[in-house]
């Protein structure tokens, strides 16, 4: 079976869902004839036309709000925010309207909306996305994990991207769908041939292990896997767990792994303070109280805007490995 890139998996999910259900549509900037700045919507405009693949003026609040209205009318709009960083412009529409409408109207309205958010940088590349700078590199998922009414999904590879996007489109609640844009052209994987839907709310054990649990999201899953492979040679066994969905979080699976290994490292690209790693750590520390042999360590972005250049401001294999060694040494 031939392999697909992460961006191709996204593209396939959109094609399949638009084929399956005439209510599914795409809306965003440059997603039509251009096929999206990253190519995720390539071919959709030709196939489904300008009324279902809607290019809009640069006005993130306006078209996100319009998509919310369409969703309330029973359509299933998939919004592309060109860079996740720009979601700040639409923030009010998401918190004030999308997240609360079901509650506000006691269930008289549903908002089956998906917001696709290309986030982060190429963690494996030479330097980060040099020149893209602090306004085109952020990982803002934690804000939406603290916005009751929103589901938050974050696939780390092509197959999950395909299956989770399909699940998100079919979901009746708004879903913030975070696509790690450094993976678009670098992560590849053979995709299941038939219908492939990955349920929202289920973590995946990426590789099993017994000594340390590494909880990773997005591109940090690849880093963790690389560290796991390297340490296997030393006889250290890492279990890498990818929550895949942050809201609702599969706390049970994370706690089970933590209890099994007794040692936990959490890694994500977003800055540490207030990042979702804190929530995960708090839940594990509470629910696995007395069962851990070492303090939980977090390997996250430094608390600063994402700088250009090659540096340690974002997680890398070295930092993850150091944290793993640290939890192995203590206790």
């Amino acid at each position: 079976m031939s392999k697909s890139l992460y961006v191709q998996a996204i593209n396939r999910a959109l094609h399949e869902e638009m084929d399956r259900d005439p209510d599914v549509l795409c809306i965003g900037e440059d997603i039509g004839p251009m096929g999206g700045l990253f190519g995720a919507t390539r071919g959709l405009h030709e196939r489904f036309g300008a009324e279902r693949v809607i290019d809009t003026p640069i006005s993130e609040a306006g078209y996100t709000g319009a998509a919310i209205g369409m969703a309330m009318e029973g359509l299933r709009p998939v919004v592309e925010i060109q860079f996740a960083d720009f979601v700040t412009v639409a923030f009010d529409q998401l918190n004030t309207v999308a997240a609360k409408m079901h509650f506000l109207l006691s269930g008289l309205a549903k908002v089956p909306l998906v917001v696709r958010l290309p986030y982060g940088v190429n963690l494996a590349g030479e330097g980060y996305m040099s020149g893209h700078g602090p306004h085109h590199s952020q990982s803002p998922e934690a804000w939406f994990c603290h916005m009751a009414g929103m589901k938050v999904v974050m696939p780390s590879g092509p197959a999950d991207a395909l299956g989770l996007l399909k699940a998100a489109i079919r979901d009746n609640s708004p879903v913030m769908f975070f696509e790690q844009k450094g993976l678009y052209e670098t992560a590849s994987e053979a995709l299941p041939e038939g219908e492939h839907v990955v349920p929202i709310g289920k973590a995946a054990v990426v590789c099993e292990g017994s000594d340390v649990t590494v909880i990773a999201t997005g591109a940090t899953v690849g880093l963790a896997r690389a560290v796991a492979e390297r340490l296997r040679a030393e006889g250290v066994s890492l279990e890498v767990v990818d929550p895949r969905t942050l809201v609702p979080l599969d706390t049970e699976a994370l706690v089970a792994s933590a209890i099994k290994t007794g040692r936990v490292v959490i890694t994500h690209e977003a800055p540490s303070t207030g990042g979702f790693g804190g929530e995960i750590a708090a839940r594990i520390a509470e629910q696995a109280f007395g069962r851990l042999h070492a303090p939980i360590r977090r390997v996250c972005g430094l608390d600063m805007p994402v700088p250009d250049g090659k540096n340690n401001a974002l997680p890398n294999e070295e930092r993850i490995e150091a944290a793993v060694r640290n939890v192995l040494e203590s206790g």
């Binding site: 209205g69 029973g74 004030t96 509650f103 506000l104």
Partner: protein, 317 residues
């Protein structure tokens, strides 16, 4: 305009006034809270309400919701009053069997983009409906309103943007807020025509609204309707009024109910007997509704919510 239709409009206007006054009184007495009085605004909701079809999608403002709902035939006076006593949100809720309503939210301006989505959905489904969105002179300052109008203009959607210009955004005089003298001047910047109308003249509002709705339904794209009124009282219950007594008296000089009444009397469409009968009828209906509403008023009891309740209330699955 036909006399029977004018009489219907008058009846809705009188009913709206009496219902509105009843709610204001309950707020003044501290029985209810936080009402944004629509006294003086009635002709806008009523005039527009009579210009749309039940399947058109209409988004009322925080001030004109009850009038619009009543004029569209969705809320008899009883329901209008009850909705304000028990569940204010009902005016803005899409309730099966009632004329089509687009909800609003507690943030001024933030509700407008939603209406653009309704218009887009209707077009996608091949409907010949029109979408109407209400907001105030204050709301017109918000970026979300700009983006919504711009999007409607770019896609030439069948929409009517109704700007209720009552001269104030809370304490901010409209004259100090937007640089322009007339909010309708915004329309040209989005490639739309615009109409300004005296919002105290119900028949003029209705006629202008009908023109606007017809324009949109015909496929000529979106249009702005700026209706000028004055705010009769404080911004909302509990918010102090900064105007002097004489400024307030001046603000109340033009009264949409009196204006239409005089007009209909002059034209012989209405007489004083009928006038009295209408008023009595409405007053009785409203009084009964107030009584019913207060008696049945749901004092939410202390409630224990579980995490599962929270999830189910918040998520649609």
């Amino acid at each position: 305009m036909s006399a029977p239709r004018d009489l219907d409009i008058y009846r809705a206007l009188v009913g709206s006034r009496i219902a509105e006054q009843a709610i204001v009184d309950l707020n003044d007495k501290g029985v209810l809270h936080d009402h944004h009085s629509g006294l003086g605004h009635e002709a806008i909701g009523v005039g527009v309400g009579f210009a749309v079809r039940p399947d058109d999608a209409v988004q009322a403002s925080h001030r004109s919701g009850m009038m619009l709902a009543h004029a569209r035939g969705g809320f008899p006076l009883r329901d209008a009053v009850l909705s304000d006593i028990a569940n204010a949100y009902l005016q803005f809720a899409p309730i099966p069997g009632r004329p089509r309503v687009i909800p609003i939210v507690g943030l001024i301006g933030s509700w407008v983009p939603m209406s653009v989505g309704f218009a887009m959905a209707d077009r996608l489904r091949g409907k010949d409906t029109v979408t109407v969105s209400f907001f105030g002179d204050g709301g017109a300052n918000e970026g979300a309103v700009h983006e919504a109008m711009n999007l409607a203009g770019a896609r030439r959607l069948p929409m009517v943007f109704v700007i209720e210009n009552n001269g104030f955004g809370l304490s901010m005089p409209a004259s100090e807020a937007p640089g322009a003298d007339a909010l309708v001047d915004r329309a040209a910047g989005y490639g739309m025509p615009g109409i300004v109308v005296d919002g105290n003249d119900a028949l003029a509002v209705h006629e202008a609204a009908q023109r606007a709705v017809d324009h949109a339904r015909r496929g000529d794209g979106p249009i702005v309707l700026e209706a000028r009124v004055t705010r009769w009282g404080a911004h909302a219950d509990g918010v102090p009024e900064l105007r002097t007594a004489s400024e307030l008296a001046q603000a109340r000089e033009r009264d949409c109910v009196r204006i239409l009444h005089e007009d209909l009397i002059r034209r012989g469409v209405l007489d004083e007997v009928q006038t009295g009968a209408f008023a009595d009828e409405c007053r009785r209906e409203v009084e009964a509704a107030v009584e019913e509403g207060l008696a049945a008023r749901i004092h939410l009891p202390p409630t224990v919510l579980t995490e599962a309740d929270a999830w189910n209330l918040t998520y649609a699955g």
